[in-house]
Symmetry: C2
Subunit: 313 residues, 2 copies
């Protein structure tokens, strides 16, 4: 099944303890679509300016990403500049220039209206709902958001949340959205707002998936070298939704595997600046890393009578 992603395509300037890159390809729709491209067909709806480099278009096309919905408007492309702290857990935004993205109003072409899987990346919740009004009800609507929308457009965000299936956010956002510092209570609260599944990303600690019946925890891969965490969250979402769309299945076992594939794609993303590493993956590499996650988390279920006890085990 195909995926439609609506989000941003950005020129990022990034500084981490391991280097500096100026105006490299970034944005939520970029990372999501590159990660998802390994699993299924993915189409982007986003906007760039007339200054957007042709090489980035070629790169997205080389990954098989459908860019017929990538609008090119007169003006400059969205630019973002950020700097990460020593442990890469903190990021300071130094500059945000929305440019053509300030007037972004997604208008879906006919083939985009009938995709079975939809990812509403981190944009104004009003725009997220305007997308929902243009599409035939997808099989799965996944959604991201951020502290800015939680704080400033809460009512609109709640309306969006009431219409989606899967919310993918980080732990701080989950706490802010729910007003609960305990992550389990935060997740329960968010499930009551509409989504039937919430996936909470925890950076180097992995991710948790909650639905009404169960909780699933996947670790992050312990890595000695992380060069640039930019895009990890959207790469995660791309792997997750990509796997679901590819298998066209949303049962519990598939959802768990999807969360692992999301973690796999995020783990590749952080190995280099921009979508550089993410853009040059092979299927054996992806499968091999999935197995690495399985080895990392695997332990045997109960074996009876293995230890001394006053009662039969």
């Amino acid at each position: 099944m195909g995926i439609l992603v609506v989000g941003s395509v950005v020129l990022d300037s990034v500084k981490t303890p391991f280097g500096i890159r100026e105006e490299i390809l970034g944005g939520s729709a970029t990372y999501f679509s590159v990660a998802a491209s390994y699993f299924t067909d993915v189409s982007i709806v986003a906007v760039v300016g007339t200054d957007f480099p042709e090489e980035h278009i070629s790169f997205l096309q080389s990954k098989g990403v459908n860019i017929s919905g990538l609008e090119r408007q007169k003006g400059r492309t969205f630019r973002w500049k950020g700097e990460y702290g020593l442990n890469l857990n903190t990021c300071t935004t130094l500059d945000t220039q929305l440019n053509v993205f300030a007037g972004f109003s997604p208008k879906l072409l006919s083939p985009h209206r009938t995709q079975d899987y939809l990812f509403l990346a981190n944009i104004d919740p009003d725009l997220q709902r305007s997308v929902l009004e243009q599409v035939r009800r997808p099989k799965l609507i996944a959604c991201d958001t951020m502290n800015y929308w939680i704080e400033n457009t809460r009512e609109s965000l709640l309306k969006t949340l009431s219409k989606i299936d899967l919310l993918i956010i980080n732990d701080a956002e989950a706490q802010q959205l729910s007003g609960e510092s305990n992550i389990t209570r935060a997740a329960r609260n968010i499930l009551s707002l509409g989504p039937s599944v919430v996936v909470i990303k925890r950076g180097e600690y992995g991710a948790l998936m909650f639905n009404s019946k169960s909780v699933f925890s996947v670790p992050a891969l312990p890595m000695e070298e992380v060069l640039d965490p930019t895009g990890a969250g959207d790469s995660f979402a791309g792997g997750l939704v990509g796997y679901l769309a590819a298998t066209n299945s949303t049962d519990e076992a598939s959802m768990r595997r999807a969360v692992v594939y999301g973690s796999v794609m995020a783990s590749f993303d952080v190995m280099d600046f921009g979508p550089q590493r993410l853009g040059t993956l092979t299927y054996p590499e992806i499968e091999s890393r999935y197995r690495e996650f399985h080895r990392l988390a695997f332990f045997e279920d109960i074996v009876k009578n293995r230890f001394q006890g006053e009662e039969p085990l």
Copy 2:
């Protein structure tokens, strides 16, 4: 196989957002031995004062803990007072009165010298080595430490580390000990100091086990109610070493299951103040929680050809 634990027995005064308790039973040897008591025979070497309440002795005995090495000295018992912050992740020590523990010098009785499993709880590394000098080489020597010893008695601690098999510490201690902020590099560094296995506890994020060949990650159980985290680390060590001793096995699969049993015991400990919940467990409860951890972390290994790809998977 039996376990010997050398550590502290303390009267704790604890304040958390959920209540206050004055002079309840605590200490590393207490939590460790109560947790381990569900798995195998465990003997304590520790010291208390003449004021130590008889009811605590009875409690330990009711759990089958061998207290022949629990020395009663003239004077007051070790007292500790601490207060936890709102999210329970921070703890401020308000008062520490070592009392009779200040002169603690573990003298092992004959039956204690030949136990096959040994846990050196968080005490002066000089004392930890004095224990090692008194025992027949155990099958497994596990050890804990803390920031105080890392900072103030580093040389002695390094000597102890060169003689042990398994170090069980938290992430901040691992970073401080190794001088590495990246947890994987920290673990590699610690493995080079002597231990063949290091288990790094991460509180609500679970634990990681590193050996020379593999990494294992176990999540913490997402819990809506945590009343008092005191003793979680020692309960974890008690479940871990308890399971290894009970099965008398230290292969990779057993070590992983042991880390899960450690997590199981820690998850019970935090449900109430002191060792109250930990002290009233049944085997079915322990097994049921183990299964809960398994459901939490389980996902299927690779299934071939499950998603579209240009190469056969």
